[in-house]
Structures are given as C-alpha cells and as structure tokens.
C-alpha cells in the first residue's frame, strides 16, 4: 500500500476497548513499567494526570494500567478483571489524581515497589492510537516508545562507558536503531536508552551488567 500505512494499521489492532489511547495505550504503559522494575511488584501507586485523571474510571484506564503491570497484552479479555487478578497476585494498588504540570494530557506516573523492595518511578503518556512514550525513569528524562527492543542502563557518567556497551552490541551483531543518553549531574549517574533492531540475548545483558560502571541494565521488549 501507499506510504508506510499497512492494511493492518487501518483494520486492527485486535484490542480490548473502549479506546486505543485510554485502554490499549494504558496497558502498554503498565507493561513497560513491569519490565523496567523486572521483579514481582508488591505495591503500585499510580498518579493520574489530565484526561487520564478525568476519565480513568469510565474508560477503564485504571484496570488497563493494572493489567499492564500484571503483564497482560492489549487484547486480553481479562483486562477488565485486572483488579481481581491484582488481588490474587497480592499487588496493592492505589490511584491518586495529580497535576504533573506541562505534560501530555494522558499522562501517568507509576511509583512501584517490588518484592525485594526495589523501587521504580516511571512516567509516560499515551499519545494516540495506542502509541506511548515513556518520559521519565527514576528521575532521568528519557524518551522511549516501546516499538523496539530497548536496553535501559544506569551507569557512572564517565568516559568510555557508552562505547563499552556499543562495542559489545556490535560484536554480537546487534544494530542500534536509536540511542539517547541522559544524566542528572556531570560525572554522577547517567542513563542510556538503546533501541535495537535485533533481539538482545540475556547472555549479552549479563556481559553488560558485569561492566564495573554499570549499576543497572534492563531489557524492555517490544510491548504489544
């Protein structure tokens, strides 16, 4: 078909209603957070902004976000039962209406605690048609869309750290589609977001994790 639009962009995706931005996008945001914390979540504080805050009950955004935290996909009919599933999984969820300032109207901030007390702060927006963008991870300003397999690292901001990772990836034949680096203060902690064309094997992650400058390395799969 003409341009980049495929027939399946028009007829599809298969999803649970009622709204691609308030439901499907919300599931995907939850799923991103689940992958970033990378352990069983025991507590979730969910801060809702803008149109998410105004309409979250009617659109089922609340259950959709929780469904994502539980790892359900956007077409899983159990999305509407997510609160019950959360209870069964001993996941405690609270919602708080907030004003996050000048951000997209469909924005959520997750404050998660995992079973080992690991914490994650993640903020993201549902930007239409089920597409999402993650804008903040643990205080770092980022930009992750979840359309590629994505590597998210936290490391000491020092010369050579980035090159070490890109060298490892290229050695294993993994092509970088997009890459961004963010830091809070020079010479302190930095984060690197690498979106790749190929799948990154868990063994490659282990090699990167073993690098002395790296405190955390997470692989986020394409979220659907």
């Amino acid at each position: 078909m003409a341009e980049s639009l495929s027939s399946f962009d028009i007829i599809g995706p298969i999803m649970v209603g009622p709204s691609s931005s308030h439901t499907a996008g919300a599931v995907r945001l939850g799923k991103m957070a689940k992958q970033l914390i990378a352990e069983k979540i025991k507590e979730a504080r969910i801060l809702l902004h803008g149109s998410f805050r105004e309409t979250y009950r009617g659109h089922g955004t609340d259950v959709a976000l929780v469904a994502g935290l539980l790892g359900l996909s956007t077409h899983d009919v159990r999305i509407k039962d997510a609160f019950k599933l959360a209870e069964e999984a001993a996941l405690i969820v609270t919602f708080e209406p907030v004003d996050l300032g000048e951000v997209h109207p469909n924005t959520v901030r997750f404050l998660l605690k995992g079973e080992s007390d690991r914490e994650l702060e993640m903020q993201g927006s549902s930007i239409g048609g089920g597409n999402i963008v993650i804008t903040r991870i643990n205080g770092f300003d980022v930009e992750v869309y979840g359309n590629y397999e994505t590597l998210v690292t936290v490391h000491q901001d020092r010369p050579g750290a980035i090159a070490q990772v890109t060298n490892i990836l290229s050695y294993y034949g993994i092509n970088i589609a997009f890459m961004r680096v963010a830091r809070k203060n020079r010479g302190k902690l930095a984060t690197m977001i690498i979106e790749t064309d190929q799948h990154i094997d868990p063994d490659v992650i282990k090699i990167i994790e073993a690098l002395p400058a790296f405190t955390s390395v997470r692989l986020v799969e394409k979220v659907i």
Partner: protein, 290 residues
C-alpha cells in the same frame, strides 16, 4: 499506477479486471518479505475476531464501563427478528454494529476499524452480508482489504482520528470503508465501490466528535449503528449506478478541510455538542463525583 487516489486504484483494478481488495492485497504482499499466506491469515484473524465480537455483543449484552449504554444492539436484533421492520435488512446490519460498539464500551475484544470508537460498523455490515449472500470466505477477507485500502487513502489525505477531524473522520471513514466493502462483496465494480465511498462520506461531512464525559459511549455506539445504515444505503445507491457528482477523492479532501477548521470544542474534548447538553453535563458531573 497511482496508489494515492481512489480513482487511481479503481482504474487499475478495472484494467486488471480484478477487485480493489485484490489489488490492495497484492500491494500488501509485495511490500512484505514473509510468506504471502501471512498477510491473508492476519486479515482472517481480524475477521474472526469481528465475528466473535458480533456474536458476543448480541448474545451477552453488558453494561458499558461508564454505565451509560448497553443492551440496545441485542434489543434491536430481537425486534428485527420478530417483525417486519421499516428498514428491512439494514436494521440487521445496524443491530450488529451497535452490539459491537457496545461491546467495545464494555471492554470487550474488538478490532479497531479504523478506530476502537468506530469498530462496530464494518463487522456489523459484513457479518450481515455474509449471512445474506453466503460468499466464500476469501471474498469477505478481500473486502476487508478493500476497506483497508479506502481507509489508508483517507488517513493520508484527511484523518481517521476524532480528536483531529471530528467523528466524520472516525465513524464517517468507517462507514465509507464499509460501503466500498459491501459493494465489492455484492459483486459491484471498483468504480461503483469508490462511488459508494463518495456517497457515504458526503453524508457524514461535518459530523462532530462530542462524546459525553469524554467516554466512548454516547453518542459513539449509536453513531456506529447509523453509520452501518449509511454504508448499506450508499452501497445500494452505487450498485444501482448512481454516480456522485463530487468524486470520492475530492470528498475525502473536503472532509480533511472541514476537520481542520472544526473548533476544538467539537473534537473529542467533550466541551461542546452533545457533551454539553443538560443531560450530557449531568453525566459529566456524575463521573467527576465518582
């Protein structure tokens, strides 16, 4: 050939003595590096979910998430089966479209076509025609490619989003897509199919997006219902040989232009139209107190 206009597509299809759907399907397989079967199977998957949605929507009606709607598709279906209706077969397509739109609002599984808000129109029209015409499955799958081809050109030349272009872009596009699919499924020519697009879309021009309390419930479900009626009537008109004076491609451009000058209050913000009627405001207040 010209892939960017409906006229170009229809001319090419006529030249090759094939359908629009076949042409779109072949274009799709050319761009694709996997096995050809996958493209067909993927669309078939969409079709099966559409059928399931019609079935669930009609037989297991539920209240919507927000609680404003639910059960009207089933009600209409029973009515249509128990007496002679004023609008004949149309109402059977309409009841199914309504049932799917209600299922969407109740967090059921649907296929965005082109959006979740307008997801009832195509399945309602096509499952009704499947029952009446009993075509082989392949013809229905190809008619979905016809619909996708129409939608893809509307997306490029105008918009498929209510927030961008009002409901004419969502339910209006869905109806136009369904009209073209219905023409091809009934054995009409590609030129007739794009005439159905023009006839259908012309009558939805200017349709605003004004959902009560911002939820995809009111008026969305009923716009799906009447969108299906529009699609079927436009298809019949085109099959009868009626030609739209303004060609489909120009109607699409007009729709895009109207969308661009439509005030923001009428583009999904719930700040105008039905959302701001006394009843709409009452619902909005009800949700804000929850």
């Amino acid at each position: 050939m010209d892939w960017n206009t409906l006229k170009g597509l229809a001319e090419e299809a006529e030249k090759q003595k094939t359908s629009l759907g076949n042409l779109v399907y072949r274009g799709e397989t050319e761009d694709y590096d996997g096995p050809e079967l996958d493209i067909y199977e993927r669309m078939k998957q969409n079709w099966l979910v559409m059928k399931e949605a019609v079935h669930t929507g009609l037989n297991k009606p539920q209240k919507s998430r927000g609680g404003m709607i639910g059960g009207d598709g089933a009600k209409l279906h029973i009515y249509a089966n128990s007496q002679k209706t004023l609008s004949g077969l149309i109402i059977e397509g309409v009841s199914r479209s309504l049932a799917v739109a209600e299922l969407n609002a109740a967090m059921g599984k649907i296929v965005a076509a082109p959006t979740a808000g307008s997801s009832g129109i195509l399945p309602g029209v096509l499952t009704m025609l499947e029952e009446k015409l009993q075509p082989e499955e392949k013809k229905i799958i190809m008619s979905l490619f016809t619909a996708a081809g129409v939608g893809s050109i509307i997306a490029q030349k105008a918009s498929l989003s209510g927030a961008e272009g009002g409901c004419q872009a969502e339910c209006g596009s869905a109806a136009a897509m369904a009209a073209a699919a219905a023409v091809e499924l009934s054995g009409g020519s590609p030129t007739q199919a794009i005439n159905a697009v023009a006839l259908s879309l012309k009558n939805n021009l200017g349709l605003v997006c004004d959902p009560v309390a911002g939820l995809v419930e009111v008026p969305c479900a009923k716009r799906n219902a009447l969108g299906a009626a529009n699609a079927l009537v436009a298809a019949d008109m085109a099959l009868a040989g009626i030609v739209s004076v303004i060609p489909a491609d120009e109607v699409i451009l007009a729709m895009g232009n109207i969308g661009r000058i439509m005030p923001e209050t009428l583009r999904e913000t719930a700040k105008g139209g039905l959302a701001q009627t006394p009843t709409g405001i009452k619902w909005q207040e009800h949700f804000s107190k929850l």
